[in-house]
């Protein structure tokens, strides 16, 4: 199992202000002096993680106190130069929100070359509220996504200039300089939560990552394994299935409880989204929206499907939060991984909410020393136990 260190680079001091923490939150609350300190603190934590044996995972959001990273590639371009060993995962670039996929391919290729081939390329659909800022349409978002994806893959792999006259993107001359360090292109990742999307990613042979999916993960991973075998004629290699949860550890249970309370604030702010942006028409399929309305649900999915104000036990049991002393946390992760048939890449939100720099450093260090070696020794086998009837 590979371990990835993730942090949203939040401006959590702004959360004390009531109201939404994204889209409409006034930027008066983004004190540039505090932002300066926080950005550099988060980068320092990743540089420590690089020394401790973590891989690095970054994301982006816009107009958000939950995440000040406005571009995966900006954050990664710093880390490409300042880290030495970690794999660098962008998860991801919201390509359906980008008007210029050629530029996306250029920036990613430059990071791959500077980092000597340490880039992993994640391309995501993005959260619904991101559309408020990108101004791109929620309608046909996946049609746009796939055209952008196809263009980026061709830009990575083509060794000659080419033109593109698609429905959404048109270019006279695409010619990627530099081309990626990794040939023919860096490993590709896509996020999913449903079995249908897992199958599509399996067909492409990409890494399938799922975020806070809890009990839904097994169905997704089973679909991926089955479809991978069917498409490629061999079982999926133990490098294809990724899961994101929260993680904090400590030297004793009292310390863990204190750290969990500071991290949990992060979960509490997730529902603070302007309601018109939780599920704009077109973002979900019509069938999905109809199913939700049939049971009286008029908004979008919030707070990772957890009950309101979940207990730590519910979060641990749900595979949302791995929290405990090193032995406890190893057992939680091992149990969850076994329950979904094996996780190859464990993505850990290891700083969130009000967890301080000192606490984050201590938790990351303790985990790296006591838990990581045991997890790295675990090897998944993605054998397909039962094939669905054809």
């Amino acid at each position: 199992m590979e371990i990835w260190q993730f942090c949203e680079q939040s401006m959590h001091p702004a959360w004390n202000n009531p109201g939404p923490t994204k889209v409409t939150i006034p930027n008066e609350l983004c004190d540039p002096v505090i932002a300066h300190e926080l950005y550099n603190r988060y980068l320092d934590e990743w540089m420590l993680g690089d020394e401790l044996g973590y891989n690095i995972f970054v994301n982006e959001h816009h107009a958000s106190a939950n995440c000040m990273s406005v571009s995966c590639t900006l954050t990664l371009s710093i880390l490409a130069r300042q880290t030495k060993n970690a794999r660098l995962l962008s998860l991801g670039v919201p390509i359906a929100n980008r008007t210029d996929p050629y530029r996306v391919a250029e920036e990613l290729a430059m990071i791959d070359v500077i980092s000597k081939g340490r880039l992993e390329v994640g391309l995501v659909k993005a959260s619904p509220f991101e559309l408020a800022m990108s101004n791109q349409s929620p309608a046909r978002i996946m049609d746009r996504y796939w055209e952008g994806h196809d263009l980026i893959v061709k830009a990575f792999t083509s060794r000659e200039p080419f033109s593109w006259e698609g429905e959404f993107y048109q270019y006279r001359n695409i010619n990627l300089w530099p081309r990626p360090y990794q040939q023919p292109m860096p490993p590709m990742w896509i996020t999913a939560s449903s079995a249908a999307n897992g199958r599509k990613i399996a067909q492409l042979g990409y890494v399938c990552a799922t975020f806070f999916n809890g009990k839904g993960t097994k169905m997704l991973f089973d679909a991926y394994r089955e479809e991978y075998l069917k498409t490629h004629g061999h079982i999926a290699p133990p490098t294809r299935l990724a899961y994101l949860g929260m993680m904090v550890t400590g030297h004793n249970e009292a310390q863990v409880a204190e750290r969990v309370a500071k991290m949990k604030v992060y979960l509490d702010v997730q529902p603070r989204t302007p309601k018109e942006w939780t599920n704009p028409p077109g973002y979900e399929s019509i069938e999905g929206n109809v199913k939700a309305l049939q049971v009286g649900k008029k908004g979008g999915r919030l707070n990772f499907g957890l009950p309101p104000n979940p207990s730590l036990e519910q979060m641990i049991d749900g595979g949302i939060f791995f929290a405990g002393t090193p032995d406890q946390i190893y057992n939680q992760i091992k149990k969850f991984s076994d329950s979904v048939g094996g996780i190859d890449h464990l993505l850990l939100l290891s700083q969130a909410g009000e967890l301080s720099h000192a606490e984050t450093v201590d938790s990351l260090t303790l985990f790296a020393k006591e838990v990581m070696p045991r997890l790295k020794a675990l090897k998944s086998t993605h054998e397909v136990v039962t094939m669905a009837a054809e």
Partner: protein
């Protein structure tokens, strides 16, 4: 209500549309707003006393098919040009409400040869103000429970048009119509938000008598926007209706219908 199926079907170039046909006489093509069309609409019922009302569900709305490649209001306007030829409409009245008003204006600037009169009801589609002033309220992603309050002067009357928003008691077909209307409305109206930057400068081409009607309580596009719309169409008349919101013709159907009939008879 707005989630009820229309009774008739018509095929246009291989695309099946739902359509409501009512009344006899001179043809009147009605283009519906973004949230659909009620087959029991009282405004259309009143017009059908004097006119042959033809009210299709736009491609992508209700149960009407969406042909491949139809993704913009301009595409819809060209689709309706085919429809108008197929129906062989002459000397017809063109009426559009809200999003349908935008569509009617896009048709009229392409040529008014088939039409004798134009009626726009609380229309969107044009940009009159400066770049830092948003004239049309965001209604593409309005939270579902807020729709009646935004679209109607009287939210209690408005919610009836949406079946009290009591989705668990609706059929799957009705909910699908609602979800499909919202998605298609958003697709056609997304960016720029419910307007075509070129439309205002083209409205001068509308060379038929035109009536621009507005709900005085329209919270989506205020009456001042309606007056600007009327001013941009040569010789157009503006009329405000009290106690009417953006979907004013649904809540004050008799007032709207009487004013339209007076204009058409005049």
């Amino acid at each position: 209500m707005l989630m009820t199926a229309l009774p008739d079907r018509v095929s246009v170039g291989g695309t099946t549309l739902e359509v409501l046909r009512k009344g006899r006489g001179q043809p009147l093509l009605f283009l519906h707003p973004g949230h659909g069309i009620d087959p029991a609409d009282e405004f259309l019922e009143a017009l059908a006393g004097k006119y042959r009302v033809i009210a299709p569900a736009h491609p992508g709305f209700g149960a009407s098919q969406l042909p491949a490649g139809v993704t913009s209001v301009d595409d819809l306007a060209y689709f309706y040009l085919d429809f108008i030829e197929q129906e062989d409409l002459h000397d017809a009245v063109l009426v559009g409400a809200s999003f349908g008003g935008w569509l009617a204006a896009e048709l009229a600037i392409k040529g008014t040869g088939r039409f004798s009169k134009l009626v726009l009801l609380d229309s969107v589609g044009a940009k009159f103000g400066d770049r830092e002033q948003r004239e049309i309220k965001e209604i593409l992603n309005t939270p579902i429970d807020d729709l009646p309050g935004v679209l109607f002067a009287d939210p209690k009357a408005g919610v009836k048009k949406f079946g009290d928003l009591d989705f668990p008691s609706m059929t799957e077909a009705e909910i699908t119509r609602f979800a499909r209307n919202r998605e298609s409305f958003l697709m056609f109206g997304w960016a720029p938000a419910l307007f075509n930057p070129k439309l205002a400068a083209r409205l001068h081409r509308i060379a038929i008598p035109s009536l621009v009607m507005w709900g005085e309580d329209d919270a989506v596009v205020p009456p001042a926007y309606g007056r600007a719309f009327a001013k941009a169409i040569p010789g157009a008349t503006f009329a405000g209706i009290p106690h009417a919101g953006h979907y004013g013709y649904m809540e004050q159907p008799q007032a709207y219908a009487s004013a339209v009939l007076r204009f058409l008879n005049g």
